[in-house]
C-alpha cells in the first residue's frame, strides 16, 4: 500500500496550476482555486488506477483535508 506521501504526490499531479508544495496532509483541498468537479474526477480515476479503490462523489465531498481522503482510500483498500 502506498504511503501518505506517495498519495500526496499523485494527488498533486492531478492539478496543472497548483504548485505541488501547496498540497500537504492538512490542505483543505476543496478551497484550492483550481479544485473543480473535473479535478475531482481525475482524483477518483487516479485512485482507481493506483489503489484499485473506487471512490464515490460523496467520499470526495465528505473528506476535508488531503489526509482525510487518504484515510478513506486506505479504509477501502
Amino acid at each position: 500500500m502506498k504511503t501518505l506521501n506517495e498519495f500526496i504526490e499523485l494527488f498533486a499531479e492531478q492539478f496543472d496550476e497548483t504548485d505541488a508544495s501547496e498540497i500537504t496532509p492538512n490542505t483543505v483541498f476543496h478551497d484550492l482555486d483550481e479544485y473543480s468537479s473535473l479535478i475531482a474526477l481525475s482524483i477518483i480515476a487516479m485512485v482507481d488506477e493506483e489503489f484499485d479503490v473506487t471512490l464515490k462523489g460523496d467520499d470526495m465531498r465528505s473528506a476535508v483535508t488531503v489526509e482525510d481522503l487518504y484515510n478513506i482510500v486506505i479504509n477501502k483498500a
Partner: protein, 250 residues
C-alpha cells in the same frame, strides 16, 4: 378503435428489459398488444418486468442472458421465434477521463454498448429471425452523435458508432423491408444516471441546464420506440430521433 400505433400480435424482443428504459419499452409495448420476449441479467428485476407486462402471460417470454457471451447468445437465438420488432436497449454508462481511458476500459464499454447489440442483430438477421417488415431499434444517445460530456468520451464513441451502424444496416436491409432506426435520449430518470461518480447535487444542477428543467421519463423514450416499431413509421429507416426536452438546442 382506430390506433395506427397498435402493436397487436407483433412479436417484440427487448434487451435491457430488467431496468429503466428497456423495462418501460417492454411494458408499454405489451399494453399496445405486443407479445414480448424480454432479456436481462438480473432474474429478480427481469421477473418484475415480466409480472408487469399486460396481456396473456402465455404470449410473453423472459430470457436471462449476458449479452457479451457470444456463444450463449448464438445458442439462445436458435430457440427464439421470428420477431417483428427488436429493441436493443441493454447498455452501460461509464465515466472515464480521457487520460485514464485504458484500452481495457474502452473495450468493455464497446463490448456491452456496441458489439453486443450489433452481434445480436446480425445473428437474428442471419438466422432469419426478423420478419419482413420488421423493425430494429437501437438505443443511441445525444452523447456521441450530437454532443458529449466530461468523462464521457468512450460512452459517446459507442453511441455514435451505433448510430452510424444503424444507418449502414438500414441501407442494406431495406430490400428485405426491415427498418433500422435509433433513439437519442437526453438524460432520462433511470438507475443508469445515478452512479458513484456523480452526486445528487450535481445532478440537480445539471437538470437546470435542460430547457424543461427536468430529465426525461422512461416512458417518454418508450413511446418513441413504439413509433419506430409500429406501422406508422413504415417509410422511416436509418433515422435518429432526439428526445431531450430541448437540451441540445441551447
Amino acid at each position: 378503435m382506430y390506433n395506427p400505433f397498435s402493436l397487436e400480435g407483433k412479436k417484440v424482443l427487448v434487451t435491457g428489459a430488467s431496468s429503466g428504459i428497456g423495462k418501460s419499452i417492454a411494458i408499454e409495448c405489451s399494453k399496445l398488444g405486443a407479445h414480448l420476449t424480454i432479456v436481462g441479467r438480473n432474474q429478480e428485476r427481469l421477473n418484475e418486468t415480466f409480472i408487469s407486462l399486460d396481456g396473456d402471460k402465455n404470449n410473453h417470454n423472459q430470457l436471462l442472458l449476458e449479452l457479451t457471451d457470444y456463444e450463449r447468445l448464438e445458442f439462445s437465438i436458435k430457440e427464439l421465434p421470428v420477431f417483428d420488432g427488436v429493441v436493443n436497449c441493454a447498455g452501460i454508462g461509464t465515466t472515464n477521463l480521457f487520460q485514464f481511458l485504458t484500452r481495457e476500459k474502452m473495450q468493455h464499454v464497446f463490448d456491452v454498448n456496441f458489439f453486443s447489440p450489433v452481434e445480436l442483430t446480425r445473428l437474428l438477421i442471419k438466422k432469419k429471425k426478423i420478419a419482413k417488415n420488421g423493425s430494429v431499434v437501437f438505443l443511441s444517445s445525444i452523447d456521441g452523435p450530437i454532443n458529449s460530456h466530461i468523462g464521457n468520451s468512450s460512452y459517446s464513441a459507442t453511441k455514435a458508432a451505433l448510430a452510424a451502424m444503424a444507418k449502414g444496416m438500414a441501407v442494406e436491409l431495406a430490400p428485405k423491408n426491415i427498418r433500422v432506426n435509433y433513439l437519442m435520449p437526453g438524460q432520462t430518470e433511470t438507475p443508469l444516471i445515478h452512479n458513484e461518480f456523480i452526486t445528487e447535487d450535481q445532478l440537480a444542477l445539471d437538470m437546470e441546464k435542460y430547457p424543461m428543467k427536468r430529465y426525461g421519463r422512461p416512458e417518454e423514450i418508450a413511446y418513441a420506440a413504439i413509433y419506430f416499431l409500429s406501422d406508422v413509421s413504415t417509410f422511416t429507416t436509418g433515422a435518429g430521433l432526439v428526445i431531450d426536452g430541448g437540451f441540445t438546442l441551447i
